[in-house]
Amino acid sequence: MRRIAQAVGVGLRRSIPMALAIAIGSLVLVDFFFDQPHINALGSFFVESVVILVAFAMILGLLNVLVVHFRRIWKRDDGWYYSIALVSIALVVVVAGIPGADSRVVTWVFDNVQFPLQAATFSLLAFFVATAAYRGLRLRSWESVAFVVTAVVVLIGQVPVGRYVSELLPQIKDWILNVPSTAGMRGIIIGVALGTIATGVRVLTGFDRPYSGEGDSTQ
């Protein structure tokens, strides 16, 4: 008797999430095909719920950050003092931001600390792209010749100096972008769409259940 109850319990644990995923997912999917006000409203509501849920997950994310870094500080792991900086600025911003998102502290930190750091970190890309070009654009095989030559033509054809080298260069660049590059992008995008749809269909039919996490295995 106990075993049956247990089995039913385990079964429910598994089938409820699955039923939820399939039912809700199908409703949202149907919303793409029908222009019915009721279905639209329902679909929008579910999407809205996801936005709220992800927003809430952000709070859990903050908790994870705090747990990871407090442990690091506690155990004096390598670089623990950096964790102090991380945790304290995060907490300062969160606490200052509780009254409102446009509190002075939050805006100040954003404008004077986060924005310059973000811009500077992102502009490292220019340096990294140069080292990647030096390292990665090598003529290892015949195909990579195509890669390197195209990259060089487009690089030069794009800037004003390209015209100086040859009037043809910008035209070749435009042709590459309009014909072979468009074809390649199109092929890649259609392929990705195929894979995306197949993956989505697997989830919506219950073949894939990435949500049936460790609740099952730690009984």
Binding site: V50, N64, V65, R135, G195, E214
Partner: protein, 259 residues
């Protein structure tokens, strides 16, 4: 025909929607048929994808050197339109977690979108239990870095540079921030596998990592790494529909040219 069009109109289905529906519909029966065929006739032959062989190899190297593997599942989350890419990343994580834990080393998993955090923790936890660590994973093993993509890249850069990592596997939905991480990895001499779907970033993945999973290839992780039947069926479905798409394109071109 007239009648059908009227019904569609009443239901609010436009021409575009009807076409979309027609494109979606074949996926369902084909997936079922392929799944059944694979179970009855055995798994199909797969072309080799060097990126997946490399994942296997780098796991071994990491285990030999006693250092850990960093796994990223992209900067997209679940619940948005990049769910499929994130799921592919999770599948890769599932494989890596199982193998890394079998050698007694937890992977370092970083997460950018908070929605991925509980799922990634689940995957690692499951692998822990399966590999005989019922007490579960170290909470520091799955880390949420930041939902800001650039900040995430900065955080991952710090981990790649300082956390005793031997290999770096990043598969999922990425934007320009990919290069910020992969170049730090390259600078530290890590072996790296990258996979992304956005054509805008793929050339940089290709130029900065040792092995690249291009576009659609990332969705094959379940078939190549885990050998799951449903994932193999999914690949077969994709291939059949790919043939259908090629056919459609050819027919469309012929019709357009003759018109």
């Amino acid at each position: 025909m007239e009648f059908l069009a009227a019904v569609f109109r009443d239901l609010g289905i436009g021409q575009q929607q009807a076409l979309m529906f027609a494109l979606l519909l074949p996926f369902f029966p084909l997936l079922l048929i392929m799944n059944r065929r694979i179970r009855e006739k055995g798994r199909p032959q797969l072309r080799s994808i060097p990126g997946y062989d490399a994942v296997q190899e780098y796991l071994g190297r990491a285990a030999e050197s006693g250092r850990r593997v960093h796994v990223s599942m992209g900067t997209g989350g679940i619940g948005a339109s990049v769910t499929a890419e994130s799921l592919a990343g999770l599948t890769v994580l599932e494989h890596i977690a199982a193998h890394a834990l079998a050698t007694g080393l937890e992977p370092v998993v970083t997460v950018s979108d908070p929605s991925l955090l509980p799922v990634a923790q689940d995957v690692v936890q499951k692998a822990c239990v399966a590999q005989g660590y019922p007490e579960g994973h170290d909470p520091a093993c799955v880390r949420f870095i930041s939902s800001d993509k650039v900040a995430y890249a900065a955080g991952v850069g710090d981990i790649l540079g300082h956390a005793q990592v031997a290999a770096n596997v990043m598969v999922g939905s990425f934007g320009d921030e990919f290069l910020l991480m992969s170049e730090v990895g390259a600078r530290k001499g890590l072996v790296q596998v990258g996979g992304a779907t956005s054509p805008q970033i793929l050339p940089f993945v290709y130029a900065s990592t040792d092995q690249t999973l291009i576009g659609e290839e990332i969705f094959a992780a379940g078939a190549y790494l885990l050998g799951k039947t449903s994932h193999l069926a999914s690949l077969a479905t994709q291939d059949w529909l790919r043939t259908a798409v090629i056919f459609t394109i050819v027919v469309g071109i012929v019709v357009r040219s003759l018109a």
